[in-house]
């Protein structure tokens, strides 16, 4: 069989133009698919950036919350109740809000303001410059140095800003794990100051951050919170909820899924058609092989091998090119959201398997049907 597969490979490689077109078709499809799914993964990751950056094990919220940015404030007794649940190691409030930063040129820029629990500062970002303790000074804020920070003029330590007409002094700078999706800069301060400076509804607590004593306590805590009419999600669950919101309740997911499907179809048709043309051109040779005594499964194996080789080479190039482009874009475009995940590569791989399978199928069907005698007589 090895000899036959080698012959199959030579037949393929000898037809340079077709071989190249085939590989190009698959490469193109994989490139597009991987680009699409990576972009999607990047957007999803960015959409959950707050949850990732704050890093609490569990979040307590109103049951109708679908994403972190539209929080529904919780009354204070929920905090007391949560603290009394067996298995809760700590529970603190957090405030998510937004304010308007007045820029030196007189224009305004919206910013996310996150208020951390005064005593624990639980959920604080990793400080890269300045002193965290100065957060207790009057009007103190921490600036988050991500790609959006320059929108408020990249204020350094000691800079004074005006947020909602309140004085704000940057006392420290922090670097987030993940940048946000919406292109707004983020500032951290204490819970007390945030709720004092920013507009308020009847309740001010956006979420309760909670750490259980052990993972084994999580189901019990969730059950107890549910009894009160609220919900407690683990970090992963909350991320999933947010992702599902963007996937299914905004047009984003569907659009990207359609684009991925289109790239798949484009790749499938280029590769399928070229491969079919290749088989047609070599029909006489397959006919000769058949006449000499090649059995069905030998012909099938040859074709399957040819389709697989081209598909997997194309897959390699596709992943390589899209990864390079993504890496290059990330270095150049600060807000570029795309990450190549193993899951995406697996999806692209499965699609390539389908492309190879489909191409082989149409080739094999044709080859099994030919009568050598007809081929010879032209």
């Amino acid at each position: 069989m090895k000899g036959l597969l080698k012959i199959a490979l030579k037949l393929l490689a000898n037809d340079r133009g077709k071989f190249f077109t085939l590989i190009l078709g698959v490469t193109f499809a994989v490139f597009l698919m991987n680009q699409m799914t990576s972009m999607f993964a990047g957007i999803m990751r960015k959409s959950t950036s707050n949850v990732i950056n704050i890093g609490a094990k569990m979040w307590v919220m109103d049951p109708s919350v679908e994403n972190d940015r539209s929080s529904i404030p919780l009354p204070d007794y929920v905090l007391d109740y949560v603290r009394s649940i067996k298995g809760v190691a700590m529970a603190v409030p957090i405030y998510f809000g937004s304010g308007l930063v007045k820029l030196p040129d007189g224009t305004y820029q919206g910013a996310n303001i996150i208020g951390l629990d005064d005593t624990t500062l639980f959920g604080r970002p990793p400080i890269i410059k300045g002193n965290l303790n100065k957060i207790y000074n009057s009007d103190a804020f921490i600036g988050i140095v991500d790609s959006d920070y320059r929108k408020i003029g990249s204020p350094g330590i000691g800079s004074v800003l005006s947020i909602n007409d309140h004085r704000a002094v940057i006392v420290a700078l922090a670097k987030p794990t993940s940048g946000g999706l919406f292109g707004t800069p983020t500032l951290y301060t204490t819970y007390t100051r945030a709720t004092k400076d920013l507009p308020q509804t009847r309740y001010s607590m956006s979420y309760i951050l909670l750490n259980p004593k052990s993972n084994a306590d999580i189901p019990y805590i969730q059950e107890q919170v549910k009894k009160l009419g609220y919900k407690a999600l683990t970090q992963k669950e909350f991320e999933k909820t947010i992702e599902n919101f963007y996937k299914y309740k905004t047009g984003m997911g569907t659009n990207i899924m359609i684009m991925t499907l289109i790239s798949f179809i484009v790749g499938l048709s280029i590769a399928g058609q070229t491969f079919y043309a290749f088989v047609l051109e070599n029909l006489e040779k397959f006919g000769a092989l058949k006449a000499i005594g090649a059995k069905k499964y030998e012909l099938m194996s040859m074709i399957l091998f040819q389709a697989s080789v081209t598909s997997f080479i194309g897959y390699g190039f596709g992943i390589m090119f899209s990864s390079l482009i993504i890496a290059f874009s990330k270095a150049r475009i600060p807000n570029y959201a795309a990450i190549v995940t193993y899951q995406n590569m697996l999806i692209a791989f499965l699609m390539v398997v389908v492309i190879a399978g489909f191409s082989s199928y149409i080739g094999i069907r044709k080859v099994l049907k030919i009568e050598p005698f007809d081929v010879f007589r032209g």
Binding site: K6, N14, L289, G293, K295, F373
Partner: protein, 245 residues
């Protein structure tokens, strides 16, 4: 004499209804062990069709083909493929080689199909290329060879697996007289044994001398048999002089 191959009442037509044309109209043919059998006849008389049917490539509409006591057209597809691989060496009228593969690789193909190891196959193929006088072209792609050279490659491919029934469709059409004679005489000398048969379709009167019997075809029928140096009952008794057509 014992028959290696027996075709009985072979009918083959192409097309349906009005366009139905009969290529073979009830042909009976017997090939014996140890003989060289020629089939001659005008163009379109059904020679290639007959060869394809007796070698298990083209299914007849009627009739049976018994090879070594087996009815080949009762076999399943893969069994028939195996039969062709192991018993038939076919030289096609238009060669049907793989132009971009090397000469040696082309000749090795039946050996690859027999699962023989790559290097060993190439070595055996080279031997037959040497025999065909193509040793120096062993590593060239076939499309660079002349028509006559390609014909010899096709012959090498047909004989490389030492089949017991060699079937040649116009094997010397592109060869000069001397080369044609040399090759057929080589084939007869080295490959014709008491457990083989060689069936050759040809127009080439220069190689008639190698035939034991000659079957004359016309319009899908066998018209007459000429015994050359071979007698199906005794052996080599009647010698008939052939008239060139």
């Amino acid at each position: 004499m014992k028959a290696i191959l027996e075709a009985k009442n072979i009918v083959k037509y192409f097309g349906v209804d009005e366009s139905k044309t009969y290529a073979l109209k009830g042909v009976n043919l017997t090939a014996y062990y140890g003989e060289v059998l020629y089939i001659v006849g005008p163009s379109g008389s059904g020679k290639t069709t007959l060869l394809s049917i007796i070698s298990g490539i083209l299914r007849p509409n009627e009739g049976t083909v018994i090879v070594k006591d087996k009815d080949i057209w009762k076999m399943k597809d893969d069994e028939l493929a195996d039969f062709r691989l192991n018993h038939i060496g076919f030289v096609f009228q238009d060669y049907h080689l793989f132009p971009k593969l090397t000469t040696t690789e082309n000749v090795s193909i039946p050996l690859f199909l027999k699962r023989q190891n790559w290097d060993k196959s190439l070595k055996e193929a080279k031997y037959y290329l040497d025999v065909m006088g193509l040793g120096s072209k062993a590593d060239l792609p076939v499309y660079k060879l002349s028509g006559g050279e390609q014909q010899r490659v096709a012959i090498a491919r047909a004989i490389v697996s030492k089949p017991d029934i060699l079937i040649f469709d116009e094997p010397t059409a592109s060869l000069d007289g001397e080369t044609g004679r040399q090759i057929i005489s080589f084939v007869k000398e080295h490959l014709l044994t008491q457990d083989r048969t060689i069936i050759i379709v040809t127009h080439d009167s220069r190689i008639f001398e190698y035939a034991n019997r000659i079957l004359h075809m016309e319009d899908g029928k066998l018209k007459q048999t000429t015994n050359n140096h071979f007698d199906t009952e005794k052996n080599n008794t009647s010698v008939t002089q052939l008239e060139a057509q």
